[in-house]
Amino acid sequence: MHPKNPKKRQADFQVIARWVNKGERVLDLGCGRGVLLEYLKQTKGVYGVGVDIDFDKILSCVKRGVPVYQGDVNEVLASFQDNAFDRVIFSRTVEQFDAPDATLREGLRVGKRVTVGFVNHGFWKNRLNKAVWGRRTVNEVYPNPWHASMPANPFSVAEFEDYCQIKEISIGKRVYLAGDWRSEGTLFPNLLAGYAIYDLASSN
């Protein structure tokens, strides 16, 4: 499967790189082929560790020279002490967790900061596809039909911000990308943002 638009696949790279400090310790949960970590290593000199469940992804990380751990995200998080990493990254992975709240909180324990990037399912096109056509959005990043995809638990910008408020998770920075996942905007994000990236920290 070759992405038609690798830029879209790497939508959050520049934003995350902007937030990461030089030489930080970064844990990327659901790191895929290790492209983000390789990028952060090259641009920011981070000590980055990836986690993924799929052996072929691990192979790619090894080839890139990215330290990687094949296994379950929750198990890996449990093995680290508090604040073991400067930053824990969840890039398009929160939707796939069995218990997103528990995993995000573990992320906030292990990382001093947490970065979450996700597709906004409140984006008008995603709504339209559901409302008018009765179908979910298929794009370059999610090219597979439902029967060939991992189970996902889609959510919107509004839902995520509600969650952070209820659970007293402080949102440091946020960036909304438009439908092309490139240009940044702030107007009516729940309707107009195609992709959202948050920089979080525990409030306490």
Partner: protein, 377 residues
């Protein structure tokens, strides 16, 4: 950046062909970690490929408990069975001998030509037997380091090993951080769990309670053969998996069983053959010494795993196998978890294979790909 993956470059695969072993002999006394010494050290080893001018392309292979220095090639063209890791080592193979100089030595304490309980004490002219000092994995590695010195190699490109070899690999990374470029440990453990110690001791008891053992002072003709064969049969089961055994044998029977306790099932025949053939190639006292060294190996001591691994500098790769119930994935994972806690460059991969602990010895393209890439990164 392109996220698409190029398939690993695979040059034409070839065989290392006919090989010969060599002996490294040091006439300096060798002192053991737990006390005691032997007046000279002997390690039998093989090498494949060529050491480059910079002497920086050497890879040390560490074998498992009952393995030996013969890991690739054949001794003659009539030999049907090549070295134990011939799939892995050769021109164009994952451990590419066109590129790397590969060294494998019979472990200290072994019985295939290296100093061990069965070798002759030059001071008495008799076998050491139980006078051989208590052995540790650290001793094995220090003996190997003397061999590496003798070859003029300062720093190894990589140290690679499975099972006991994996433990040696870690010991290398811990004891000689400046001499290890990277390391790969397969089907490994930071220490034996109670079940593994239990199996080992049952094997040792089978040997020690065999009247032929004679407190270790047996002769080649009258050794504890039955005990050693039973120890091997039992250990062999722990190297496989239930699924693997079922797949290979199921309840297949032999037609020839006449007496009640004759060989009736194929799996019985297989195991008895494994036991008998082991007796012809392995020394009972070596088996006792080596299994004891493994049971005592403990990277969690004296302080903690994190403390023991804190001085490691080389990048490491640990590979676990899902069906391995002797050195289960969890024991492999904890090594990498510790290294990552310490901020080291370490990776963990897990392969779903049905061959149990022995999975690393089986033809496995995914494992080849992983090792090839890690050696090249």
């Amino acid at each position: 950046m392109n996220d698409s993956e190029q398939t690993a470059q695979i040059s034409e695969e070839g065989e290392v062909g006919i090989v010969e072993y060599q002996d490294f002999v040091s006439t300096e006394p060798f002192h053991f970690e737990s006390g005691g010494s032997i007046p000279e050290l002997r390690l039998r080893y093989e090498t494949y490929g060529h050491l480059n001018e910079a002497k920086d392309n050497a890879i040390l292979i560490c074998h498992a408990l009952t393995g030996d220095h013969h890991c690739a090639g054949v001794y003659s063209m009539d030999e049907r069975k090549p070295g134990w890791w011939n799939f892995m080592i050769g021109p164009g193979k994952p451990i590419n001998t066109s590129e790397y100089f590969v060294i494998c030595s019979n472990a200290l304490g072994g019985c295939q030509g290296s100093s061990g309980p069965g070798s002759i004490n030059p001071e008495t002219g008799k076998p050491y037997n139980l006078d051989f000092p208590k052995l540790t994995v650290r001793d094995m590695v220090r003996a190997q380091s003397q061999l590496i010195d003798s070859l003029g190699i300062d720093r190894l490109h990589a140290v690679v090993g499975g099972s006991m070899g994996g433990m040696q690999t870690f010991q290398w990374a811990i004891d000689y951080p400046d001499r290890v470029g990277r390391y790969i440990a397969l089907a490994c453990a930071a220490r034996h769990n109670a079940q593994t110690i239990a199996f080992n001791d049952t094997g040792r008891q089978a040997i020690i309670t065999d009247p032929g053992w004679q407190n270790g002072n047996y002769t080649a003709e009258n050794g504890p053969d039955q005990g050693l064969a039973v120890a091997r049969m039992m250990a062999h089961i722990t190297y496989l998996s239930d699924v693997g055994l079922e797949h290979k044998f199921g309840r297949k029977r032999r037609a020839s069983a006449k007496e009640h306790f004759d060989i009736e099932f194929e799996v019985e025949s297989y195991l008895r053959y494994q036991g008998q053939s082991f007796v012809t190639r392995f020394d009972a006292n070596s088996y006792l010494y080596l299994t004891k060294a493994l049971d005592r190996f403990d990277l969690h001591a004296p302080e903690s795993l994190d403390d023991t691994l804190s001085g490691v500098t080389a990048p490491g790769l640990v590979v676990g196998f899902t069906s391995d119930w002797l050195y289960p994935p969890q024991g492999n994972r904890e090594l990498v978890e510790s290294l990552l806690r310490l901020g080291k460059d370490a990776s963990y991969a897990e392969l779903a294979m049905d061959y149990g602990h022995d999975s690393f010895l089986v033809r496995a393209p995914k494992l080849y790909d992983l090792i090839r890439r890690f050696l090249h990164r």
